[in-house]
């Protein structure tokens, strides 16, 4: 395993760092746009890069089913396939198997499931998950874990976490180190500090390029999530990157960076963009709202994305009313820009020793109600 990680500044618990990978550097704290099926939906990849994103996430579950990991490998790997030369982190497939597929059977060996696309039967084991991600040419491979349901009793969470730790060790054994490529382990343990602590120790003993926190943002609420982070993150190896999976809203990200998290991914900016919800400084707005029909204001005057530089809210409203593809294209771009601007400001804040000042700006008005056009 050999992904470099250098910490360049800290401010309280917040960390400013840089990963070095075979496909380029990643400045942290970093947000990874989600490219589910080999595309960040509604975006040309060069537009994704223009927002400042350095790394994207690919979904192993979707890609293994269509077009298939072997097919992606035959076409040169995911970077070449989707024309994204930069770093790609792939998840293990476990989360989607457990949430999307039919008729799954989980045992110590792995999970057997039926594709939601065509009912075909597939097996995902720790070894196969690592192999699929190798075929995809993932810069960062994620260990296969069992996603503990929420809520779960401490006993359920314990058994599930212990299995994930055994799977993590099998992934570590299956993963063939290559320069600039890495493997991350995933901390589980539900909302139970004792289990999280055990999971951290187990993973650190095995040894990974980075450590992810899994099983959060599944309904426990922001306060509980922050509590778990506060109890877990400080004991993670400080010289490796920490990745909070599937999080979240801008204020979730700010709070997690404050607690020492370096990497994030979430479908929220892209998914919201496709339905007309825009993240703007000061809150969110739904561009489909009639209040915007006659507005000649930009979406967010402080934003430099094409949606904000080129168009009035009235036009964006029209695109969504008319079901024009350019609507999702522009709002996705804007939301991704908004998230990257957040990350850039957090990084600058940490460097300047003014993290809390930046944090307050972005936490000020999370998800405000609709403002008039």
């Amino acid at each position: 395993m050999s992904i470099g990680f250098e910490l360049t500044a800290t401010d309280g618990g917040a960390r400013r760092g840089r990963l070095s990978t075979a496909h380029g550097p990643i400045d942290t704290p970093a947000f990874m746009p989600v490219g589910t099926a080999g595309t960040v939906k509604a975006m040309h990849p060069d537009s994704v890069a223009q927002t400042g994103a350095q790394i994207i996430l690919g979904n192993t579950y979707h890609l293994m089913l269509r077009p298939g990991a072997e097919q992606v490998a035959a076409l040169g790997g995911l970077h070449r396939f989707m024309n994204w030369p930069g770093p790609i982190l792939t998840d293990s497939g476990g989360f989607q198997v457990m949430s999307l597929s039919d008729l799954r059977t989980i045992d110590e060996q792995g999970v057997i499931f039926k594709s939601h696309l065509d009912g075909s039967k597939h097996q995902l084991t720790p070894e196969r998950a690592v192999d699929i991600q190798r075929l995809l040419d993932a810069t960062i491979t994620m260990a296969l874990d069992e996603c503990t349901p929420f809520p779960a009793t401490e006993d359920e969470a314990d058994r599930s976490m212990m299995r994930s730790m055994r799977w993590a060790e099998r992934c570590r054994t299956a993963f063939a180190p290559r320069p600039g490529y890495g493997l991350f382990g995933i901390v589980q343990g539900g909302v139970y500090p004792r289990l999280r602590a055990h999971s951290v120790t187990a993973l650190a003993t095995i040894g990974f390029d980075g450590y992810a926190i899994g099983g959060l943002a599944v309904g426990e609420g922001q306060a509980t999530m922050f509590e778990v982070l506060g109890a877990t993150v400080p004991s993670l190896p400080a010289d490796h990157p920490r990745y909070l999976m599937g999080v979240g809203r801008p204020d979730d990200i700010v709070g997690a960076v404050r607690r020492g998290i370096d990497m994030f991914d979430c479908v929220m900016p892209t998914r919201s963009g496709r339905t007309g919800q825009a993240f703007v400084r000061g809150g969110t707005l739904n561009i489909r709202n009639a209040a915007h029909a006659a507005s000649d204001r930009p979406l967010d005057a402080a934003c430099r994305c094409p949606a904000c530089r080129g168009y009035a809210r009235g036009y964006l409203h029209h695109l969504f009313k008319a079901n024009e593809m350019l609507g999702p294209m522009l709002l996705t771009w804007h939301n991704l820009q908004h998230y990257q601007d957040l990350m850039a400001e957090l990084r600058q804040g940490i460097e300047a020793g003014r993290f809390e000042e930046v944090a307050r700006r972005w936490e000020a008005a999370p998800l405000q109600p609709e403002e008039p056009g």
Copy 2:
């Protein structure tokens, strides 16, 4: 009226020219991508410009119903609304009224119809059509005509054409000339040379900035269309641009340029792109065809668009199978690039006195059957 038109070269019947408008020049022969509802579907406007397109078409019918011509005017006109600073030609709305709306009643005054969107009642007269296009800030306004059904008897075509000529005169009267803005009349008369000749004379007597040929590409077939063009175009005023409405396939365009046409519009490249049909040198292909799934060839090795420079056919195939928006985005871009490349080569061919050599290249294999990936 005051759109400049300069003929810079001819080769046989083919003409190389340049329009000068308030929103910039248009090199002819020119193809205008269709931006139905204030957007060229699935394209950012700067991408449309990157293909080489200098002018786009907007649909008055769609825009008058949603968001409304007054709304577009209040938001700065169509150029600002849709962030396309270049020339825009708007149709009169007549064609869509007659093909899309419910319960239309046509009489000498104009046409009354119900919106296909919400059933609301609207009237379109020659005067209102001109006024709507003024509100939209159209660079080139089209006269309202009655679209003669096909097939039509000579008598039916005669009566319809004569009404269109009376409407053309009313449009000419209603149109307030502005520097760099223009009004085009539309030749009707079905497939009857006598009627077409009468229509040409009537329009030339009224006097327009340009002359369009309407009522073709409606089912009469390419041979008949070319016959009508051959009998009609030579008598059009030579010092004004000629626009063949709603045409067409690349070989239609080549044949029409040979007969003296300067301007074209068609939904074919954009609509085909959204369904997975690509125009390539040598024919067309449907990227959804399983033959392309494992192909690492570009769509068209001779094309410089992002779809051809960045991706293998296997990836584009995957995007369409997965219903990913990037599929229509890339194929639309490619098809528009293909059409603009055609126009650029035709222009160069005319300038170099080698039009027929270029024409043969593009006519060689119109709409070939699927080629393997």
